[in-house]
Subunit: 341 residues, 2 copies
């Protein structure tokens, strides 16, 4: 079987297609009250999840995501070649502490909220290139640990602006295999860092929208696919503000996705009813929406082709305080159940 | 050409071997006064490197590393398929800000001081699996930006304990290609997270030594190589304290490397003369020592087989303040100029 079909500068097509043989998701109480509740494997009721700190809680549910993904894939640790994992916390401690007990080779990634797609890109390429047979892609985020790290301590009760996004408390796991039953990754488009000069950490949708638009546009250019090829083009977490900007940028290059375009940060909450401002964000957002709702739709035959576009804001509080703008990145993963195409 | 030879649970052998077609290094003033000065491409005289902050200085010299690696590889950005990069700073801002101007697909990694080896593992597998043709592996660290982030503001002049290591100000770049002239990567051993319960952030050598010993031991088990196969087994940056502990752990499983075993954190400084306590550390340590001295030794035929073992401490100040121990990881890359073996 041919292992590669290069189909453009940023897009790598797979002859041997990695299969998503299982997925799992764990979310927090707010996400469990949202419209996607039925799709999640576990809804935790307490943001501390029985731990003393939010960071430890995040590590704990990231581990639950890993365990659930392994169980649903019916794999033992000996059968797993590699874990690819990352999160938003400094030095990715949710992942490294959550997974330190796993007896499996581990590679840490940092792509901010794009990490689930970054892990699917790398894992997909390693499987398609016949380097490994099974890869677990695991990411998480936690509203409370992210908020105090990136913005202000929660105890201050700082008011949020309408463009602000709400970091999802939750995580998702995707098990990729070189064979098995499930949707397949047929190609990935790896993003470039993109900086349009946005400096407002309370408007990350605006910072990330250009990266999403560039990667989506490059993906259609590289593949030559028509804009109605996908049942859904789903950005990671741009929220309402970012989705509108991304749509504007796409329309400037004559890409009209219309109703086919949606965003995980908008889907995961009843944004108005739950007062989530611009919508959800965080490594756990796209990961749990894809692992939960989208995988369910694939399994029930409701969708056949999905383009998942993880978006990440690559800044830190230090860079923001030093007056820097917010560079962003987006990686796209094309997933299909049209096995014959 | 066969793209894979699996040679053990954690070790992946390459049929199509990635070639190190170029490397470059940039270091700061202390490293420039050390014993390896002659091997570095650029020694900067001022730790701020003309910038207003240490973080901006680090981004600036990481970019210089990238530019120098590209120039020495005689590659244009259009010929480069992928950048793999990371550093020690929160949210990897040295890498993302340093490389935001590069018009090249980018994937961010976090493996603390093991990042250069992590990038060579991933880049090597992607090339060997024929997914990409050219990958730039770029990492950096900066004493001042790391010290204030992980320990105390430099202005406090806090006294350092003898087991403390000195974060290297510098970076290294390695260009991997699917063909060309240079040493080749013939296999990689990907590490597992390893936590022996060490809690002292001023003794990272002790925290990382078990991970190094486990990966080295697994590498010899997987490959069946004799302990004198390598001219040098070179750990990333354990320093004196960690090297001694690693040697002890290896001797317990009857691996005696003797003079063949050395450490980048010991090589980069005249540790006693420069008062560097246990030795150097940081993402830039193994990266600059390998890119500089080791690549020079390969090119001059002084060495033929090297095992580079990048070691990383996967903790954060938050995890340390919450009373956690320090998990660590080590990834090994086997590099050879014995093309026929």
């Amino acid at each position: 079987m041919k292992s590669k079909k290069a189909i453009g500068k940023q897009t790598i097509g797979f002859g041997l297609r990695p299969v998503i043989i299982a997925s799992a998701s764990v979310v927090g109480p707010d996400e469990g009250k949202g419209p996607l509740a039925e799709y999640f494997d576990l809804i935790i009721k307490d943001k501390l999840y029985g731990e003393e700190t939010w960071e430890k809680a995040e590590s704990k549910f990231l581990k639950e995501v890993f365990n659930a993904t392994m169980a649903k894939a019916k794999l033992a640790e000996d059968d797993l070649d590699l874990i690819l994992s990352g999160d938003l916390l400094n030095q990715s401690i949710a992942a490294t502490f959550g997974l330190r007990g796993a007896d499996v080779p581990f590679l840490g990634l940092f792509g901010a909220c794009s990490t689930i797609c970054e892990s699917m890109c790398i894992g997909g390429m390693l499987i398609s290139g016949e380097m490994v047979n099974h890869v677990a892609c695991i990411t998480s985020s936690h509203f409370c640990s992210a908020e105090r790290q990136f913005r202000t301590p929660l105890e201050l009760g700082t008011q949020r602006v309408p463009s602000a996004q709400w970091t999802v408390t939750g995580g998702g796991g995707i098990m990729l295999g070189n064979q098995g039953q499930g949707p397949e990754i047929d190609c990935v488009t790896i993003g470039k860092i993109c900086d349009y000069g946005v400096k407002d950490p309370a408007n990350m949708g605006a910072a990330m929208a250009p990266a999403a638009a560039e990667t989506i546009s490059q993906h259609f250019k590289d593949t030559g696919r028509s804009y109605d090829y996908y049942d859904m083009v789903l950005t990671g977490d741009l929220g309402y503000v970012g989705r509108e900007l991304c749509n504007e940028l796409l329309e400037k290059v004559d890409i009209k996705l219309g109703e086919r375009y949606n965003d995980c940060g908008i889907l995961i909450f009843d944004v108005q009813g739950q007062d989530m401002h611009s919508g959800g964000s965080g490594c756990g957002c796209a990961a749990s929406v894809f692992s939960g709702m989208i995988m369910d739709h694939f399994n029930k035959g409701k969708v056949q082709n999905i383009l998942l576009v993880g978006t990440g804001a690559l800044f830190s509080p230090t860079s923001a305080m030093q007056g820097e703008s917010i560079p962003a990145i987006a990686h796209a993963v094309s997933i299909t159940t049209k096995y014959s195409c």
